[in-house]
């Protein structure tokens, strides 16, 4: 008997820019064969605001609020990376108390950012908002703490060249202490709910594997890189600020799949809590900002300052022509570079996996499009 073969055609879907799981206005032109992803073409630029160009017309201090708008889920880290670059460029000293404050808020920011990253990842797996709502509860506490610190909940504008903008109010310290004490038990809660869940395991184990070679070749960074088993963290490997005074581990994964990325983030939250605990015990009294003129005129030259932001290596490249504004301001966006591996990760997986793998990269479009 003759068998007739069904003729099938590839099927193109524009996933985004108004799709619920694209974390903003990201667009993927995906070719499907049935439910299987055949080709992915990422397209971005829908959130482009020209921040790099805007910055060239502003003084060094005025640029700080612009950096808030890059990775708006980790605004403190963006502030920090930028002011560190300027301090390097203009050789501004930073008082010790300010360094401790920066580390405390930077690690708090990391917890807050990872909470959202894991929460939305589980949501994209299809959980009906419950884990996300649990994580929002703790993020809310962090936002309240940031609010006490600088009056803002999302775009903080807290760091200054040579320090921070305010000393925390006296009631802030016990509030942070309480949060740090509570947080490990909350992380246990999430792990009970998610880590050993059979559906989560079958949806994430072995899915979207990023090989070591590809991770290095794509110059990936952050938890996305470490999940592939590469032990690389700027906090330890290119120590900035005073990170060498603290004891903390760098969690790394083994397979580089979605599950390892999730586990890396959860473990990093625990390490961040550890760092904050140590910093709270050591923080000295004194100035929170060194004496810096309003208009900074760094000497002619260029500088690259980078920090380990929650999503990876966040770098700022500044060129100074000895005027009050930078001649060139360039951002090395961590998530955009991580996202360049998307096509290799997703091809051959299904539509549902595409969304999950994209979520596990943990992108923020404000940083990608700038």
């Amino acid at each position: 008997m003759e068998t007739t073969q069904l003729r099938t055609e590839p099927f193109v879907i524009n996933l985004g820019p108004h799709h619920p799981s694209t974390h903003g206005v990201f667009r993927m032109r995906v070719v499907f064969d049935g439910e299987v992803v055949v080709d992915v073409e990422p397209m971005f630029g829908y959130l482009h605001r020209g921040i790099e160009k805007l910055a060239e017309g502003r003084t060094y201090t005025q640029i700080i609020p612009l950096t808030d708008r890059l990775d708006y889920l980790a605004a403190m880290s963006n502030n920090w990376g930028y002011v560190m670059a300027v301090e390097k460029l203009a050789s501004v000293p930073v008082p010790e108390r300010a360094e401790y404050l920066r580390i405390i808020v930077g690690e708090m920011m990391r917890i807050s950012s990872h909470l959202l990253a894991t929460g939305f990842l589980i949501n994209e797996l299809g959980a009906f908002f419950t884990p996300l709502m649990y994580m929002y509860r703790e993020r809310e506490k962090l936002l309240d703490l940031f609010d006490m610190l600088c009056g803002q909940r999302l775009t903080y504008n807290y760091m200054r060249v040579g320090g921070v903008s305010h000393d925390p109010p006296p009631e802030w310290w016990p509030a942070v202490k309480r949060f740090v004490q509570e947080m490990p038990s909350y992380i246990d809660d999430y792990e009970n709910l998610i880590t050993t869940n059979e559906i989560v395991l079958s949806r994430t184990k072995g899915v979207g594997v990023l090989s070591r070679e590809l991770a290095i070749n794509a110059s990936a960074s952050g938890p996305f890189l470490r999940a592939s088993g590469i032990d690389w963290d700027l906090r330890r490997d290119d120590t900035y600020s005073i990170y060498n005074r603290f004891k903390f581990d760098i969690p790394i994964g083994t397979n580089g799949d979605v599950y390892d990325r999730y586990m890396c983030r959860v473990k990093e939250m625990r390490q961040s809590v550890r760092i904050i605990e140590q910093a709270l015990q050591q923080v000295p009294k004194g100035e929170f900002r060194s004496n810096v003129p309003h208009l900074i005129r760094p000497p002619v030259g260029d500088v690259y300052g980078h920090i380990e932001a929650p999503r990876g290596e966040l770098g700022f490249y500044l060129v100074s022509d000895n005027s009050i504004a930078p001649y060139r301001f360039h951002v090395r966006p961590s998530t955009m570079i991580n996202l360049t591996t998307l096509r290799d990760l997703t091809i051959g997986w299904k539509l549902a996996d595409l969304i999950v793998i994209f979520g596990s990269v943990d992108v923020v479009l404000g940083e990608i499009d700038r």
Binding site: P10, F11, I13, H19, P20, S21, V31, D33, E35, V36, V38, D39, I122, N123, E124, L125, G126, A127, F128, F129, T130, M133, Y134, R137, L193, N197, I199, V200, L201, S202, R203, K205, G206, V207, I347, G348, W349, K350, L351, A352, D353, I355
Partner: protein, 386 residues
């Protein structure tokens, strides 16, 4: 739907097609009263389910849920309905207009039609005591996917089409374990009539048939698109699925259909496994409603807790786990009925069946794996030239 001749004959013979205390034996009056009762009961239960789910899930998620419209927010669904009534009805330019219009209607009505054979408040208190009630239920419940497929096809939207395709695959796969699970209950009860099944159910079949209850619950969740099998409306993947292109009252009908199918599924669960309307003190119809709500509580508890399965894993669960378990359960039940026909009402079978169910589920959970799923695909140029 209503076999008038049979009803007349039954009435003349003085049989219990009518509730014991029902005055008059006019089949038309009987049909009218029961149709009104079924529509009222179904709509009230749909509202109750919507309210229970929104408030219940909110509690799971550290939220309050709707609490403004009416006392404790009970009128929220009504407010939503009014809003949807006033919204513009949008039909995509490329849509198949007639199918697009008919789809929500086709999706909604099977949910109510199922209640024709469900005894509501007593033995014989149902629209039509069909001898093949169980077959009728299965036939009608698989009707719902037709509306879904019509909507997905007619919308001329790619997300809707994916959702419709998933819906058909899901329905075909899960119909079989569903039938098998109900079959083992039918073997125990010795009748296909839902009325007879409730009458024979002195010990709830949940206790006598734990495995069948679990399989039915899972397969039914897949049939009515409840989590973790809600691939048809997977918000994070295909936006709103088959009703992406629906607005206004048509969307409201789909919303009603979604909960209507849940109501029907839970009613069948309550009838087959929780002894239907039977219960002490409270009026029987209230017992039915309470049992449905308890079953639905488990459903939205799962929804609030578990992520979604992927489409191939869903198929794997259906074909590799639920179907063999259901078949084995049918065989075991048949043996039990064959060798101990008198033992069925005895409590001794309850622990035996629980042990068997636990052992089978344990074996399957150790052997069946749902992982994997990467497909080796051809390169871009190969696809273009093919």
């Amino acid at each position: 739907m209503i076999d008038i001749d049979n009803l007349k004959a039954a009435a003349q013979a003085g049989q219990t097609t009518f509730p014991p205390d029902w005055p008059g034996a006019n089949p038309w009056l009987h049909a009218l009263v029961y149709i009104v009762a079924i529509i009222a009961f179904t709509l009230i239960m749909i509202l109750a389910f919507i309210y229970a789910e929104r408030r219940g899930v909110a509690r799971f998620q550290l939220r309050l849920g709707p609490n403004r419209a009416g006392p404790e927010g009970v009128l929220q669904a009504v407010a939503d309905l009014v809003k949807l009534l006033l919204k513009e009805d949008i039909v995509p330019t490329l849509a198949d207009k007639i199918v697009h219009l008919l789809a929500p209607v086709v999706a909604t009505f099977p949910a109510m039609m199922i209640f024709a054979v469900v005894p509501l408040w007593g033995s014989g208190a149902l629209l039509s005591d069909l001898d093949v009630g169980t077959l009728y239920v299965l036939a009608i419940s698989s009707f719902g996917v037709l509306g879904v497929f019509m909507a997905g096809w007619a919308s001329s939207n790619k997300y809707a089409l994916i959702s419709a395709m998933r819906g058909v695959a899901q329905m075909v796969s899960y119909e079989i374990p569903l039938v098998m699970a109900l079959l083992s209950v039918v073997i125990m009860a010795g009748t296909l009539s839902l009325n007879g099944i409730v009458d024979n159910q002195d010990i709830p079949y949940l206790l006598l048939q734990p495995l069948a209850a679990v399989i039915y619950f899972l397969a039914m969740s897949a049939e009515v698109n409840r989590s973790p099998f809600d691939l048809l409306e997977a918000e994070s993947e295909i936006i709103a699925g088959y009703h992406t292109e629906y607005s206004g009252m048509k969307f409201a009908l789909f919303y009603v259909a979604e909960y209507g199918h849940a109501v029907a599924g839970m009613a069948i669960f309550a009838t087959f496994f929780l002894s239907g309307w039977k219960g002490p003190v409270l009026p029987p119809i209230l017992w039915l409603a309470i049992k449905m709500l308890i079953a639905f509580f488990i459903s939205f508890w799962i929804r609030a807790t578990l992520p979604r399965l992927r489409v191939d894993q869903l198929m794997g669960l259906g074909w590799k786990a639920l179907l063999p378990l259901a078949v084995i359960n049918v065989v075991i039940t048949s043996i039990e009925v064959l060798f101990w026909p008198d033992g069925l009402t005895m409590w001794i079978l309850v622990p035996v069946n629980f042990v068997i169910a636990a052992a089978l589920v344990y074996i399957w959970s150790r052997t069946v794996s749902l992982r994997g799923g990467r497909v080796e695909i051809r390169t871009r140029t190969e696809i273009k030239t093919a």
